[in-house]
Amino acid sequence: MQAKALEEANRQLAICNACRYCEGFCASFQAMTRYRSFDDENIIHMANLCHNCQACYHSCQFTCPHEFDLNIPKALANVRAESWESHVPGSVAAEKIQSNGWIIALITVVAAIMFGLIGNIPWISDENFYSLVSHNSLVAVFTPLFLGPLLILFIGLYRYWNTVGGDWIQGRDLSAAFHAAGTMKNLDGGMGQGCNYENDDRYSQTRKWAHHATMYGFLLCFASTSVATVMHYGFGLEAPYPFLSLPKIFGVSGGILLTLGTSKLLYLKTKSDPKLGVSDRRSGEYGFILILWLVSTSGLLLYWLGGTAAAGAMLNIHLASIAAFFLTLPYTKMAHGFFRLAALIREAQMAKA
């Protein structure tokens, strides 16, 4: 990691630690009280606990133009992004994609063209979904596309775990971490009043709900694919599935949630103050939300278009967006979900000690 982000965070946290008025907001500040001074690993840990709710900035007496010039949301966001980039193999790719969101779009377009060329897809479908593209070729393309990036991500997580000095994980660490992640505890402002984000120093629950929709929508979509895989291989039940089947119920509800959630997150991001977010990587954040939006929206449209002529084109877009999503997964903001969870697990370990 570059020393600059860590140094700046260290400078600011030393001032925070002599104040601590923000202790009630979130886990980052509760973690802070354990330290008298900060090593790199402490700072990286606090940075990955931070959800960028920005409450500490708006509550701070020492923000610019004060000479202390505190901006903890930004300082921690910079350390956080660098911590993902530096821990996953292929740091250069991570840095490039985080700071150039258009790369994700480019990959999507290229993938769509490739699917179009290679797939030799007939434009008119019949009853069978796989007449559009064979199941085996789908598996052949997506299995390495899925497992490779996941492997890279998990190597990054393993390195991260070593950096922050993580212990063996126990059940109660996991349950505390999943509870915090599942409820977005650290976006509720500490007293349930919500966070500051899109509306200056007023608290709001909007971002939390938009994130819930996105996260649970994503998980439902993932569940849909997983269930369908089991049905396909385990029970020989092939797509298309009826509306009242698990893959459809999960997929459609998840898709709708994911489309709504990402739309709202995109809107909120345009209303948020770039000064309080990560430096130089805003386009990567937009790119990540957009690709999630495209995955779910194209999936829903694909279902809605059904047997029409446009379905083939939509399938291309859908598959290309999924490919781009997976291919870039360890190098986009998708990393935040995994590193955040790791930080919450580590925090559960340290809080009980």
Partner: protein, 482 residues
């Protein structure tokens, strides 16, 4: 007698005193806690309210930005407040710190009203949090604002916006026009443009004069040059002086300010809470000549930090140096600036710019006077020096384990005591006669209740209680006179 008008740049359709339409029901001068409570309360009564804040938006809120809690009476656990804190105990605590220098009816009014303030503040969008780490001793008496005073200030300004109150930032009130105890309007400079704004009533809540170094110098002499101001640079007491000159009745020692010992490297203004240095009870404190001058272990720090501002102010060049060793380094809150660190006492003295031999001698004498015994950092442990002048009566352990750490201390001024005398309605008086439509709240009148000393969180209690009273009364008067 015609009202004398200061020089006015006739920029914005100027209305002269006594002429033209009344623009506002209530004008609130100031933008901190008391002003905000007054403005909210007046607007809730239906008054058309204008609030004039001297600072720019990011610095709004005066010294309230730097606060973190308010002291609150309660007869049973309440929200974040544990156990109970009854009126008599509260009043006893006040008597102790002020040594009786208080107006009992006003003090009791503030204390009795503090309990309902808790709920009222919550209803205005203020959130409370558990007592901060390291402040467990306050969890019974003081309710902490989630995010501190600036978060409270933000909540109140948002409330004002919702209530349709007009707020001007960078608005300096130059003259409050009062004739025969009747307020007419204010001459105000808003972003460089002067105008006269009329109001049916006025609430003065613009703080003390602690940021006016010239004023402090008149009281303290040249020593004031070396004072640091812990809070807002905007509290220069202009409105206070303006009305005292016009015969408003005053209260509080005009020469006194409340000062604590803070880190000597703090910014000249607005260093706030983080500039505190809590290591004094575990240290020896030397002046620039390398000599001790007071019992560092007289009492627990929360009860003694306030006298150290004055003690340091009385030393040459208004500076002190707290010196500790490795044993004590983790016993107090982290400091904003890192300590000067050295492996020996002479090296530390050199780094701090102190006379090396004297420091070595003072430290050796102190160490020799330390006695065997049990050390308890959180309570009076009676671990005292023997045959040493001045004695250290608690936590006296030899300073002998490297590395050694040193902190420069300077007086940090928190607030001043001089203010308006008010009655139970927060009404200002002139020559012992109540003004018709002038109220005051917050630091500008707190000297009535806090004649000397300080009780943590009580400034915010006074501001909230009397801000609300002033706002209510001012709005009532405005509606009756309309």
């Amino acid at each position: 007698m015609p009202i004398e008008i200061p020089k006015i740049e006739p920029e914005l359709g100027l209305i002269r005193p006594g002429e033209g339409p009344v623009s506002y029901d209530v004008i609130v001068v100031g933008g901190g806690n008391a002003a905000l409570c007054a403005a909210i309360r007046a607007a809730e009564s239906g008054a058309k309210v204008l609030l004039l804040e001297r600072a720019r938006r990011s610095y709004r809120g005066g010294n309230s930005r730097h606060t973190r809690n308010f002291r609150c009476m309660h007869d049973a656990p309440k929200g974040m407040l544990t156990d109970q804190y009854l009126e008599d105990e509260f009043f006893e605590d006040l008597l102790k710190v002020t040594q009786g220098n208080t107006d009992e009816p006003l003090a009791r009014l503030a204390i009795q009203s503090s309990e309902e303030c808790y709920d009222w503040m919550q209803s205005q969008g203020v959130y409370f949090q558990e007592s901060l780490s390291g402040t467990l001793s306050l969890s019974r008496t003081n309710a902490f604002f989630l995010g501190g005073g600036k978060a409270l200030v933000n909540a109140y300004y948002n409330r004002l916006e919702d209530l349709g109150v007009d707020v001007h930032y960078l608005a300096t009130v130059l003259d409050v026009i009062v004739e025969d105890r009747l307020f007419d309007g204010v001459l105000v400079d808003i972003k460089g443009i002067q105008s006269y704004i009329r109001g049916r009533s006025v609430v003065l809540a613009s703080g003390g004069f602690e940021s006016d170094k010239e004023w402090l110098t008149r009281a303290w002499g040249d020593a004031a040059k070396n004072f640091l101001i812990r809070g807002t640079p905007y509290n220069t007491g202009g409105v206070l002086k303006n009305l005292l000159d016009k015969g408003a009745d005053q209260v509080g020692d005009p020469t006194q300010c409340h000062a604590v010992a803070i880190d000597g490297r703090a910014p000249e203004y607005d260093g706030g809470i983080v500039t505190r240095v809590d290591c004094v009870p575990f240290s020896i404190v030397l002046n620039k000549n390398g000599e001790r001058f007071y019992d560092e272990g007289e009492d627990v720090w929360p009860k003694r930090y306030a006298i150290w501002g004055r003690l340091v102010a009385a030393q040459p060049d208004q500076v002190g140096y707290a010196i500790i060793d490795q044993k004590s380094y983790n016993l107090f809150m982290p400091t904003v600036f890192t300590a000067t660190k050295a492996d020996s006492i002479p090296e530390l003295a050199e780094k701090l710019g102190l006379p090396i031999e004297t420091v070595a001698k003072t430290t050796a004498e102190f160490n020799a006077a330390c006695q065997e015994g049990e050390f308890h950092p959180t309570e009076l442990d009676g671990l005292a020096t023997k045959d040493l002048e001045p004695a250290k009566t608690n936590w006296a352990r030899p300073i002998d384990t490297p590395p050694f750490y040193g902190y420069e201390l300077r007086p940090g001024v928190t607030f001043t005591y001089l203010g308006f005398r008010v009655d139970h309605d927060a009404r200002v008086s002139f020559s012992n006669e109540r003004a018709t439509n002038v109220w005051a709240a917050g630091e500008i009148m707190a000297g009535s209740i806090l004649g000397q000393g300080y009780l943590a969180g009580f400034g915010m209690t006074i501001g909230t209680v009397f801000g609300r009273i002033a706002g209510k009364e001012a709005a009532e008067y405005a509606s009756q006179s309309a």
